[in-house]
């Protein structure tokens, strides 16, 4: 039977030999396909992975090291009271459809994002805005109702990229921005193709064309990279295969950090985790390194609070919740739970949660806590855990940058309510001075760590496997993105 299949197959293989990798295009694979292509009306994730800094740009943007730098605004002035921002816009910028970028586009974008019927997933970023005025084509004045220390960084988010009124109707299928690449086509379920935008205001990218492919299955991901179907895979989903790529000279493996704080969230609003002593017991029951080794094959940085370790303001508080089962048992006794207790542990689909959950449950069993694992799909998790707060424990990675302020939100899913913490956040918003901001951020990290709000596990790492001749890919992910303007092939 075998030769009969092989002969025609071989003929077919030679009839259409795969095109050799050329030096001016790139095929980059990621796991998730965007639902549509409007970053300003859906949770960023996959949309930003393809479009951020490639097709769309904001007034400011995140640089590779996470700092905020000018993009479509070249400079800005902030009034004494911190309430008025005057942006000078870059001149000579055109959208991919040939229309000019002006102050009217900025006004349209910001007004649309903060409108009552806005479907912007991060509407909270624009909440402080009171009024947006296009002073002249090159100048925009934004008035805030309250000081917002993080305003410039808010504008760098993928949810705040500048869109034009002329192209808004079709943006979900045909995104038109000002970035170095223009959108070519989207073969749904397979790939999105981008091409170099020749009228780009900045330095022209080395790549002429870029293709994003969507490969969800870890085994398929491995095969696609090995077979050379893709030049790079950002967020490679099979960490168990990384050593194999590391030892292969054809590939490089980049293990970057992300903004994803992976936490064992506890429901602070209901028994038994409304008692800080019980939460402290859980925190000490957890062995972070064992979770990182077991669930993530060793990649990931332990964290002791809800803050990214690569951020200059990060405080290492892991010692506060060091692995100490003996202490955990004592604390449970102190809380009157020496008999042990049974709680639910609801796990969303990502492997960090599913694999990590098994290990967490085993560690909790050591100290007398029985965690009953329930696996949920994302849609179920969003409804049950995030929406209805119906859970005791869950594992989830919070991937938004600088999101410690979620601890100040009313009625957030983990149910933390601390006037002292809220005060720190209010003060932070009112502070623009860097040293003072840094102090406040540190105080905030300490506050939630001392209150043992959640179990802080690790900072999610993002492994990228790439052709060894490829240079310029982002190493870390200060925001979820794969900017390709600086990517090029070497010999």
């Amino acid at each position: 039977m075998t030769p009969r299949i092989l002969a025609p197959l071989a003929a077919l293989a030679f009839a259409a030999a795969p095109a050799l990798a050329q030096e001016n295009d790139l095929t980059l694979a990621i796991q998730l396909e965007p639902p549509h292509l409007d970053p300003t009306s859906a949770a960023a994730g996959a949309i930003d992975s393809v479009l951020y800094a490639n097709v769309f740009e904001g007034l400011t943007r995140f640089a590779a090291d996470g700092s905020v730098e000018p993009a479509l605004a070249t400079e800005w002035e902030i009034s004494e009271d911190g309430l008025t921002y005057t942006f000078t816009l870059r001149s000579g910028v055109t959208f991919h459809d040939g229309t000019d970028f002006t102050a009217e586009d900025v006004k349209f974008t910001l007004d649309r994002a903060r409108a009552e019927d806005s479907t912007n997933a991060q509407k909270v970023l624009f909440e402080a805005i009171e009024e947006v005025n296009a002073v002249d084509p090159q100048t925009v004045e934004v008035r805030l109702s309250r000081p917002e220390g993080a305003f410039l960084s808010n504008l760098a988010w993928g949810d705040a990229v500048i869109v034009a009124e002329e192209s808004i109707a079709d943006i979900k299928q045909t995104p038109i921005g000002t970035g170095p690449f223009r959108f070519e086509q989207w073969v749904q379920g397979d790939r999105i193709e981008l091409a170099r935008f020749e009228e780009y205001w900045g330095e022209a990218p080395a790549l002429e064309a870029a293709t994003f492919r969507f490969i969800a299955d870890p085994t398929a991901a491995f095969a696609a990279v090995m077979a050379g179907d893709v030049d790079a895979f950002a967020g490679f989903p099979a960490p168990e295969n990384l050593p194999q790529f590391e030892s292969d000279p054809r590939f490089t493996v980049i293990t970057g950090s992300t903004e994803g704080e992976t936490i064992l969230a506890m429901n602070n609003a209901r028994e038994p985790f409304d008692d800080p002593v019980v939460r402290e017991a859980v925190a000490h029951a957890i062995d972070r390194q064992a979770i990182i080794d077991g669930a993530m094959y060793g990649i990931g940085t332990p964290i002791g609070t809800h803050f990214a370790p690569h951020n200059p303001d990060y405080v290492d508080l892991t010692e506060l919740s060091a692995h100490d089962p003996e202490k955990a048992r004592k604390l449970l006794q102190e809380a009157g739970l020496e008999e042990g207790l049974t709680v639910s542990l609801k796990l969303p689909p990502p492997s960090y949660a599913r694999r990590g959950g098994e290990i967490v449950a085993a560690q909790l069993r050591e100290v007398g806590i029985t965690a009953e694992i329930q696996t949920l799909e994302w849609a179920q998790w969003l409804e049950e855990v995030f929406g209805n707060h119906d859970f005791d424990l869950t594992i989830v990675s919070h991937t938004e940058p600088m999101d410690i302020n979620i601890y100040a939100r009313d009625d957030y899913y983990f149910g933390y309510d601390s006037p002292a913490f809220d005060e720190i956040m209010t003060e932070l918003d009112a502070t623009a001075e860097p040293v003072a901001r840094s102090e406040l951020l540190k105080a905030a990290q300490e506050k939630i760590a001392e209150d043992y709000v959640n179990g802080y596990l690790f900072q999610l790492a993002l492994p990228t496997v790439a052709d060894a001749r490829l240079e310029g890919l982002w190493e870390n992910q200060p925001t979820q993105a794969n900017p390709l303007a600086g990517v090029h092939w070497t010999e």
């Binding site: 039977m1 299949i5 197959l9 071989a10 077919l12 293989a13 009839a15 259409a16 795969p18 396909e33 639902p35 549509h36 009306s41 859906a42 949770a43 960023a44 994730g45 009552e116 019927d117 806005s118 479907t119 912007n120 997933a121 991060q122 509407k123 909270v124 979900k172 299928q173 073969v187 749904q188 379920g189 397979d190 790939r191 492919r213 969507f214 490969i215 969800a216 299955d217 085994t219 398929a220 095969a223 696609a224 090995m226 077979a227 050379g228 179907d229 689909p349 799909e377 994302w378 849609a379 179920q380 969003l382 409804e383 049950e384 995030f386 929406g387 989830v396 919070h398 938004e400 999101d403």
Partner: protein, 314 residues
Amino acid sequence: MLTYALRRLVSLALSLAVASLVIFLVVEVAPGDPAAYMLGTGAQPDTIEALRSELGLDQPRLERYLSWAGGMLTGDFGTSYTYRAPVAQMVADRLWVSLPLALYALALSTLLAFPAGLYAAARRGRAGDVAVMGATQLGIAIPNFWFAMLLVLLFAINLGWFGAGGFPGWEQPLAAIKALTLPAVALALPQAAILARVLRSALIDILGEDFIRTARAKGLTRFEALWRHGLRNALIPVLTIVGLQFSFLLAGAIIIEQVFFLPGLGRLIFQAISQRDLIVVESVVMLLVFAVILVTFLTDLAYAWVDPRLRRRA
């Protein structure tokens, strides 16, 4: 023949109406809100509400069912919640991958199964038969996704003859056929094994019939008798299996599409379910039901064509 076809047609329409109601109810009952899924963990409740009303999810269920079912009658499947594209167009795009793949696999499996089944029946009980039956046993036992991975390992990674997956589109017909080859082989092999076994046992039954003895008596070899007189009579059970297999190949390729990251119907429905893109789930399931029912209908007609006695009975 005509009344037979008409009666079949009425039962087809009834099945579809019942199916649409069941599908709608089952999908609607599942927990999870498409708007919440779209907006993720950063969104505030009022934003989710705004999106729900933009998507029409705040309408009563009955109204949504009627507009969906009514729309389908006129070929309008509605607009996807997540992709915001017409469902009909999305499904059509995916069908251009799934349908050729299913046909390709079906052709391969038939091409493999007929010679194997005929050969085994003609050599019944001898070494050749044992070998073919052993091979088909193996073919049934091997899960197709695992076989698919082996194919990728050998032909894509080691030999480099094929890509590991993906689909270039029909603008490049040769490359497209090439991209579908490994998935089609992976899908076809277990089907071929089943088909070969069915064909063999059907033929063996017929070998005992009087008309075959007559044919042998007039000097035909066993193989010639099977080929000229046996095969046509063995076709009824084989057609039943082929009909079932086609439905399976169209709807059941989800895992294979995942392994080869093909943008087919299976992958669309998989994505739609996890994103709670209800209208896409409903429409694709409905379409699959329609396809299965249609194939059964065509198979019934094919019976009547192969076996004139069925026509007269109807």
